[in-house]
C-alpha cells in the first residue's frame, strides 16, 4: 500500500552516498597535515614569545606583572585538572594556593628547611590535607560541590587570620627570600622562568592524562557520572586522584608565589576572588583544551594588571572582570579556543551533511516499508 514515506524514495538510478570518496580522504589528510604544521608553528612561536618576555619587558614593574600573569597561568591550568577533566567546578581552589604558600613559608621559618625543599614539602602537605577534604567534598555534585569548595577556603581564611602565633594573622607572614643576593629585576626574571617551568610540567602532565585511560574515564565522569559508573569506571577514586593532582599543582603555584612575593596575608592567599579568577580564566580559554587556561590567564591576567597600572587603586579591574565573565558565558560558553576553531571551520572545508539518514538508509527504509505493506 503506498504511503507518505514513498515520496522520500530516492531516484532509482544508483546515486553516490555520503561515503567519502578517495579525493575527500586525500583532502582530509592534507588538512590534517596543515593543521599539525600550524599547531607546531604556533607552539614554537608561543614558547619563544613567552621565554623572551623578560628581555622585552621595558621595566621591572612590567616584569613583575609578567610574573603575576605566569602565576595565574599556573593556577588556572592546575584548576583545570579538576574542572576541565571532571566538570567539577571548584570556586575554592584558592584554599590550596594559600595552603601551599603558608606551608612553604612556615617550613622555612619554623623548621629552617631550604627554600625549594620546603616548597616540595608544602606540596606534600597540601596533598595530605586534601585527601580527607576531597573524600568529603566529592560525595556531593554540582552546586553543592561549589558550596563545599567555597566553605573550605573560608574556613582556612578564618583559621589563618585567627591563629596569630602560628601564621602571623593579619600582620602577615614574611617568607625569607631564596636568593638574597639577587637584585629586584633579576629576582623577577628568575621567578618568571620558575613559574614557566612549573607551567610546562603541568601542561605535560595534562597532555599525558588527556591521552590516557585515566583521562578517558575522567571525561566520561564529566559527561555523565552515572553512566561512567555503569560502564565500570571507578568514578570515586578517579575524581579523588584528579582532585589531588589539581590541589598539588595549585599548592605548588602558591608556594612558588610565597617564595617570590615574600609576604603572605590571609586575605589575599585564601581569597574567593583568586578562586574565581582561576575559573574565569579556564572558562574563557576553554576547559577542554590543553592551552585553554593559559590563554585565559594571558587575557584576564594581562587585563587585570593593565587596569591596576592605569587606574591604580580603583576597583575598575573588578568591574572589567565581571563584564568579561558575563561576555564569556553569553557568547563563548565553551571558551575562546572552541569558538575560534568553529569560526575557522566555517570558512574551511565543510563536513559532510548532518542529515540523519543517508540515501542508502532511506532506500532501505522504504524497501522495508514496501515489504511490510506487501505482507499485510
Amino acid at each position: 500500500m503506498p504511503n507518505a514515506s514513498d515520496t522520500e524514495r530516492p531516484p532509482p538510478s544508483p546515486t553516490r552516498t555520503a561515503a567519502p570518496g578517495p579525493r575527500d580522504v586525500k583532502g582530509t589528510r592534507q588538512a590534517l597535515t596543515v593543521a599539525r604544521a600550524v599547531k607546531l608553528v604556533a607552539f614554537v612561536a608561543g614558547a619563544v614569545l613567552i621565554l623572551s618576555f623578560p628581555n622585552m619587558a621595558p621595566n621591572p614593574y612590567i616584569l613583575s606583572a609578567g610574573v603575576v600573569v605566569a602565576s595565574y597561568a599556573c593556577t588556572a591550568t592546575a584548576w583545570n585538572f579538576m574542572g576541565g577533566f571532571t566538570g567539577y567546578i571548584s570556586l575554592g581552589h584558592a584554599a590550596f594556593f594559600g595552603l601551599g604558600a603558608y606551608a612553604t613559608g612556615l617550613l622555612i621559618r619554623d623548621l629552617s628547611w631550604p627554600p625549594f625543599v620546603a616548597w616540595l614539602g608544602a606540596g606534600a602537605v597540601v596533598v595530605l590535607i586534601t585527601i580527607p577534604v576531597g573524600i568529603a567534598a566529592l560525595r556531593v555534585r554540582g552546586a553543592s560541590f561549589v558550596i563545599v569548595s567555597i566553605a573550605f577556603v573560608l574556613i582556612l581564611l578564618l583559621v589563618s587570620q585567627a591563629w596569630k602565633d602560628f601564621t602571623g594573622g593579619s600582620n602577615g607572614l614574611v617568607v625569607p627570600r631564596p636568593f638574597p643576593d639577587l637584585l629586584r629585576p633579576e629576582h623577577h626574571r628568575v621567578f618568571f622562568y620558575l613559574f614557566v617551568a612549573l607551567l610546562a610540567v603541568m601542561l605535560l602532565v595534562w597532555w599525558v592524562i588527556d591521552r590516557s585511560r585515566f583521562g578517558a574515564g575522567l571525561k566520561a565522569v564529566r559527561e555523565d557520572e552515572d553512566k561512567a559508573q555503569a560502564l565500570g569506571v571507578p568514578t570515586r577514586d578517579y575524581k579523588l586522584v584528579a582532585y589531588l593532582v589539581s590541589a598539588l599543582f595549585t599548592g605548588l603555584s602558591g608556594g612558588m608565589y610565597a617564595l617570590w612575593f615574600g609576604d603572605l596575608d590571609p586575605i589575599f592567599q585564601f581569597s574567593i576572588l583568586l578562586g574565581a579568577y582561576m575559573v574565569l580564566m579556564a572558562l574563557l580559554g576553554g576547559v577542554r583544551h590543553l592551552y585553554g587556561p593559559l590563554l585565559g590567564a594571558l587575557i584576564v591576567g594581562g587585563a587585570l594588571e593593565y587596569f591596576k597600572l592605569e587606574y591604580g587603586d580603583t576597583q575598575l579591574h573588578l568591574v572589567a572582570t565581571a563584564v568579561l565573565l558575563g561576555v564569556v558565558v553569553l557568547f563563548t560558553p565553551n571558551g575562546i579556543i572552541p569558538a575560534a576553531t568553529d569560526l575557522v571551520k566555517r570558512f574551511g572545508p565543510q563536513d559532510s551533511s548532518i542529515r540523519e539518514m543517508t540515501a542508502a538508509e532511506l532506500l532501505e527504509r522504504n524497501e522495508n516499508e514496501a515489504r511490510r505493506a506487501a505482507d499485510e
Binding site: 578517558a216 566520561a220 559508573q229 555503569a230 560502564l231 569506571v233 543517508t358 538508509e361
Partner: protein, 259 residues
C-alpha cells in the same frame, strides 16, 4: 516471532535474583522478595505499572543498588552486593534509561568506553569488529559526535557499547523511551539480534505489549513482587492480564515483528 519459551528444567539460568528485597535510603522497600531467572539465549521482559520496581531490579542486578536481602547469582556464582565494576566483570552490562550516549563524544569514544574494563587491546579490537558488524550504523557514524545521531541510532550505539565486554546478560532499561513507533520496532529488532548473537537480555519496558511480542519470557511485576511470569505469548493471550497491565485488549491483531 521469537523462539519457543525455555521448557521447565531447561539450561541453568544465567542470571538469578533470588528473593531480593531492596529500596532507596530509608524509604519503604521497592522490591519485596522478588525472584527472577534469565535463561541463556532468551529475552526476558519485565512489565508492570509505574513504581512496580522494574528499573530497581536492573539496578540491583548491575550493582548500582545493593539489595537488603536475597541473592544475585550469575552463572551460579553468588555476586550479591558487588559494585558496578565487579558486576560488569561477572558479565552483566546495564544500558540505562533514556538517552545514555555521551553526547559530546564520538561514536568511537562511546563504544570504546564500553570496553573500559578490558585491558587486552587485541580483545577490544575483536569486540569492536563484532559490534560494528552487528550494528552497521555504528561503523558508519564511527567518527561523528554521538549527540548528533538520531534517537534510534543513539540506542544502537548504546547497545554496541554494552556488548563490548561480551556480557552474559544485557540489562536494558526502557530502550524505546522517546522513540517513534517505527524506530521502536527497529530497536526491538536489534534486541532480538543481540539475543541471536548469544547474549541474554533482561528488558524493562513501559511499552508492554510491544515488548512482550519481542520477548521469550515475561514477568509481570506489581508492588515489588513477581505477580505472574511465563512464556511471553501466554501472558499476551491472558485476557485478565491484558485488562490489568497492558491497557485493555488489543482492538486488532498487533503488527508482526520482524527479525
Amino acid at each position: 516471532m521469537a523462539s519457543e519459551p525455555t521448557p521447565a528444567g531447561g539450561p541453568a539460568p544465567l542470571l538469578v535474583l533470588d528473593d531480593v528485597q531492596a529500596g532507596y535510603g530509608r524509604a519503604a522497600m521497592v522490591l519485596r522478595g522478588l525472584t527472577i531467572e534469565v535463561p541463556p539465549g532468551t529475552v526476558v521482559c519485565l512489565v508492570g505499572p509505574n513504581g512496580a520496581g522494574k528499573s530497581t531490579v536492573l539496578k540491583v542486578a548491575s550493582g548500582l543498588l545493593k539489595p537488603r536481602s536475597g541473592r544475585v547469582l550469575v552463572d551460579g556464582d553468588d555476586v550479591t552486593g558487588r559494585g558496578p565494576q565487579a558486576m560488569l566483570a561477572s558479565g552483566l552490562a546495564h544500558v540505562l534509561q533514556g538517552h545514555s550516549v555521551f553526547r559530546e563524544m564520538t561514536v568511537e569514544e562511546n563504544v570504546l568506553l564500553g570496553a573500559y574494563t578490558l585491558r587486552d587491546k587485541a580483545r577490544v579490537a575483536e569486540r569492536v569488529a563484532f559490534v560494528r558488524d552487528l550494528f552497521p550504523i555504528v561503523g558508519e557514524r564511527w567518527k561523528q559526535l554521538a549527540g548528533l545521531l538520531s534517537g534510534g541510532q543513539q540506542k544502537q550505539v548504546e547497545f554496541a557499547r554494552s556488548l563490548m565486554v561480551d556480557p552474559k546478560v544485557v540489562l536494558l532499561d526502557e530502550p524505546s523511551m522517546g522513540l517513534d513507533p517505527k524506530t521502536t520496532a527497529t530497536v526491538f529488532e536489534q534486541v532480538t539480534r543481540m539475543r541471536d548473537a548469544g547474549t541474554a537480555v533482561l528488558l524493562v519496558e513501559q511499552n508492554a505489549r510491544r515488548a512482550l511480542e519481542t520477548a521469550d519470557l515475561g514477568c509481570v511485576l506489581d508492588l515489588g513482587r513477581v505477580h505472574i511470569s511465563g512464556p511471553a505469548p501466554e501472558l499476551l493471550a491472558d485476557p485478565q492480564l491484558s485488562e490489568l497491565y497492558l491497557g485493555g485488549r488489543p482492538a486488532e491483531p498487533s503488527l508482526p515483528v520482524e527479525g
